[in-house]
């Protein structure tokens, strides 16, 4: 009995010491995963995910409270990158929201420049008293312009299908 206790204690102490030393000797600095996630996100702080800004969304994703496909501007590519990083099964996700583009209804625009100032990516062009237009190449669909527009002349819609971005759909499985 005594030997048994002694042996086990000794063994435990020895192994514990070994591990302690190993933990010291082989200690490594690690980049917190939240930072890694945040660096992947678009960073436009658009809030389409429902979180106040990208870093909040990154935290939520790491905690698992936000789905990895909740970022419409990032699209499918971002979703896959995040799923890989956070080890999420892609098939378990539902349909991702579609990225949107802002469009200004020219006939209603008064050229107040409010949207122009609100746009986080400078995607709206036009000067005071002139009709504004959206450069769709730079628009993330964050809807900030829509929120400030006094004339309600900004609408958000998915990118239209044109000859340039059309492609064949997936064939129906046999």
């Amino acid at each position: 009995m005594f030997t048994a206790t002694l042996v086990l204690t000794a063994l435990g102490l020895l192994l514990g010491w070994l591990l302690g030393v190993a933990a010291k000797v082989f200690a490594v600095e690690e980049n917190p995963i939240v930072n890694e996630v945040e660096s992947l996100l678009p960073g436009s702080q658009c809030g389409q995910c429902g979180f106040p800004g990208c870093s909040a969304a990154a935290e939520a994703m790491v905690e698992g409270t936000a789905a990895v496909n909740c970022c419409p501007p990032g699209g499918r590519a971002l979703t896959e990158a995040l799923a890989e990083l956070l080890n999420v099964d892609l098939n378990s996700l539902g349909d991702a929201p579609v990225p949107q583009l802002a469009r200004i209804e020219a006939s209603l625009c008064t050229g107040c420049t409010k949207c122009y100032k609100a746009c986080p990516t400078d995607a709206i062009v036009g000067a005071t008293k002139q009709i504004h237009a959206v450069i769709s190449k730079a628009c993330t669909g964050c809807s900030k312009c829509k929120d400030v527009c006094p004339e309600n002349c900004i609408t958000l819609a998915p990118e239209p299908v044109t000859l340039n971005n059309w492609h064949w759909t997936k064939p129906e499985a046999a």
């Binding site: 064949w168 759909t169 064939p171 129906e172």
Partner: protein, 371 residues
């Protein structure tokens, strides 16, 4: 009709919007399946002739049970019964029947066919989705579950000969009311060689005494229902090669690797190891090489992959035949390589145009002008 016909084309049978090509050769799945069945016919007829009425009953029972199981599975999954017409169930049943002992009771035949189609194929989603060869899976499952019945080999008693059982006796055997009389059975060459190896008898002696190579080749010997005639199977296989239904890679590499291994070991000690030609002409190796290992679904899709697959089959076959506990090993060998097929498919790819074997772009001396 003139050109005012307001267009565009109504979708033909292939469904509406569909990308190119808008041309197709005349091949189809059922055509392939039926070609394989056709190639099996000579060996089958000969086997049925050799083993008589009970064998015919066994054969019909397995094939019909396979088709019935297929129909049941399709119905359970709510799919169209028209899918039966791809003849894949017919072929699976047929191949299973070929590799079964000739006189099987109905329950053995039917459960084998059910296992092949339901577990081997439809559990995985039906045609094209299975990972193991269904016929061999059923054969191996039966062999392990019912070792006695699955290794009861009847003597050759051709239709119309005096010793052939009549209809009533055949039915009795088929329905299991009467066992197979002791005098009717014997041992196959492979079985005998296994026993001999355990008992310490010499292989050369065995081969020359009871079994002639010529008979083995023609098939006038005892064994599985359709496996006895290496010659007729070989003919069927060659026809399939000619019809481009199968490629030469798997049969050649499988037969060659077995032959080589057998030759090497036979030359080391001919009293311990069976000679290579007996290996090649007995058991299911011919059927395996031409009809079973070449099953599209469960073998690799590239030529190099096929060579590896065939060689692996030959190796495992020889290992089990020589040192393993089972005298016949085609099923195990093919199934083992089936399990490796996804890995082979992943790692062996053809060399793509403009790339080297490892998939990097080939380097060519640039023709850019020095400005």
């Amino acid at each position: 009709m003139n050109a005012n016909a307001d267009l565009p084309s109504p979708a033909p049978a292939g469904g509406g919007h569909r990308a190119a090509p808008y041309a197709h050769d005349r091949s189809s799945v059922e055509r392939i399946m039926l070609q394989v069945c056709l190639a099996l016919t000579p060996a089958t007829l000969y086997g049925l002739y050799l083993f008589g009425l009970p064998a015919i009953l066994t054969f019909l029972c397995i094939v019909l049970a396979a088709i019935a199981t297929e129909a049941l599975c399709l119905w359970l999954q709510g799919q169209s019964l028209w899918r039966l017409k791809d003849a894949s169930a017919l072929l699976t049943g047929w191949l299973l029947a070929m590799s079964m002992p000739p006189w099987c009771p109905w329950w053995l035949s039917a459960s084998g066919a059910f296992f092949a189609i339901a577990i081997g194929k439809h559990l995985y989603g039906g045609i094209g989705q299975n990972v193991f060869n269904p016929a061999m899976l059923a054969r191996v499952a039966l062999l392990i579950s019912f070792p006695v019945q699955m290794t009861t080999w009847v003597q050759v008693m051709p239709l119309g000969s005096d010793i052939a059982p009549g209809l009533s006796q055949s039915l009795a055997i088929f329905f299991g009311e009467q066992g197979i009389p002791d005098g009717f059975t014997g041992a196959t060459l492979l079985g005998a060689s296994k026993a001999a190896a355990n008992g310490g008898a010499s292989m050369a002696e065995l081969a020359s005494r009871d079994y002639s190579l010529g008979q083995s080749f023609v098939g006038n010997t005892l064994g599985s229902l359709g496996e006895t005639s290496a010659l007729l199977i070989l003919l069927g296989g060659l026809w399939l090669l000619r019809a481009r239904v199968i490629s030469w890679h798997i049969p050649v590499s499988m037969l060659l690797s077995t032959l080589l291994l057998a030759a090497i070991f036979h030359s080391i000690d001919d009293s311990l190891y069976l000679d290579p030609w007996s290996h090649l002409t007995s058991g299911g190796i011919m059927l395996g090489a031409f009809f079973i290992a070449t099953d599209y679904v469960t073998s690799p899709s590239t030529n190099t992959g096929k060579l590896i697959f065939g060689a692996g089959c030959g190796l495992v076959l020889f290992l089990i035949r020589t040192w393993g506990g089972f005298p016949e090993a085609v099923g195990f060998a093919v199934l083992f390589m089936n399990a490796l097929t996804p890995l082979i498919d992943r790692s062996v790819k053809p060399r793509a145009y403009g790339r080297d074997r490892r998939g990097n772009a080939i380097k060519n001396i640039s023709a850019r002008k020095v400005q």
